[in-house]
Amino acid sequence: MRFSALKIIREGLTGNKGWTPHWRDPEPKSEYDAIVIGGGGHGLSTAYYLAKNHGMTNIAVLEKGYLGGGNVGRNTTIVRANYFLPGNSEFYSHSLKLWEGLEEDLNYNVMHSQRGIINLFHSDGQRDAAARRGNAMINQGDDAILLDREGVRKMLPYLDFDNARFPIYGGLYHPRGGTARHDAVAWGYARGADQRGVDLIQNCEVTGIDIENGKVTGVQTTRGAIRAKKVGMVVAGRSGQVAAMAGMRLPIESHVLQAFVTEGLKPVIDHVVTFGMGHFYISQSDKGGLVFGGDIDFYASYAQRGNLPTAEHVIEAGMTLMPMIGKAKMLRSWGGIMDMSPDGSPIIDRTHIEGLYLNTGWCYGGFKAVPASGWCMAHLMATDTPHEVAARYRLDRFETGRGLLDEEGTGSQHNLH
């Protein structure tokens, strides 16, 4: 089934009876050429590009819950390519280019909206850092515009420009940044993979990884054993548990990140805006809800729910920046489990076990990475060599200290990135 405007009109006029399920619900086979553990954004895009780019179609995605029930359906949907360090910048640049062609490629409306991101700064030092980051982005071939205070005022008149404690000096504007509908991204990749023959197996938890003589031979699941010579672990916040099945101890700590949404309002916030002096960022969904968040709760957690002090902190920061949001009623808050790495950057690499691959460490920025992560993970699993834009996402960078990608310079502490 292909989506088109014509099809929508025809279905609208005939009672919407002609739609078919977006993907099959197959029984797991006893053997595949490759298995991807985890049906989040990264697992589904990995499967899609394994099939599309590498012709591997006898593969399965094993998901313990339902597709898109993890972080990919819980994030605040910001898509950007404004990284500073070589290693990150080429990867996210590649990802943004994939985003720009994604809807056409998937024939799926992921509501990718390049509404622009403005990272505010509030001091001379922050301005210098923003200018430097902007230059790095331009060098990478992406876009960045340094706005002064008046430039920001023109675009974001609703900010509190009179705040003496956190004066607004300007902002780094990234016009190609924006948002996308998070679960539509998961669904689009799922449908694309399924159409190419990939088995998407839900309610199928991996409980063990079979290894013989240093080679992976398959997995144990709640729906029986499945053999495969290649297995990718793509389970975000659950990376520690799944890797432990292969006897590995990862440089990952799992932390909870919260997000919040208000009642639907008329269009008021046209961009993605981030506060430079407190943990707060915001955008407005197409339904009208103000979607905002801040930092992680700072302690290890698998609870998928956060604590009130962090909610209070985020809302206080928001009120400081744009007091008008105090009039909005908050509808919901939720949490997701982040795979925090020691330098805040991800890992896409082989492991010491032949045929076992690792994709983790996305911290709270893995949604925008979904296309490039799948692209590079598929490349790695199919060819056994890292893709050039993900070549620095090595697991051994922590051991050697070479090639650490610490964007914020906070040092090796998982919860500070």
Binding site: R238, G240, Q241, R249, L250, P251, I252, E253, S254, F298, Y299, A300, S301, Y302, A303, N307, P309, P342, F398, E399, S412, Q413, H414, N415
Partner: protein, 90 residues
Amino acid sequence: MRINCPHCGPRDRREFTYQGDALALDRPDPEAGPDVWNDYIHNRDNPAGPTRELWYHETGCAAWLVVTRDTVTHDIHAVELASAVKGAGK
């Protein structure tokens, strides 16, 4: 989440700062070699369940605490003073 500080009694989570796994109390020997140090600095058990971690009673008594906490339920099972834990700061 409230942490029962041995000095101050039960206090709100916002008075405390989280440091991470209490393995920080078992600092390896300086000559232990790169594998041991890499493991100590970067790798974590990261359990879904009970774990021991270091918290600092920042706006309270300023003591370091070893908190046994469940990462799934956020239940707190035990709180000890890090200074009283064997091997702490050796």
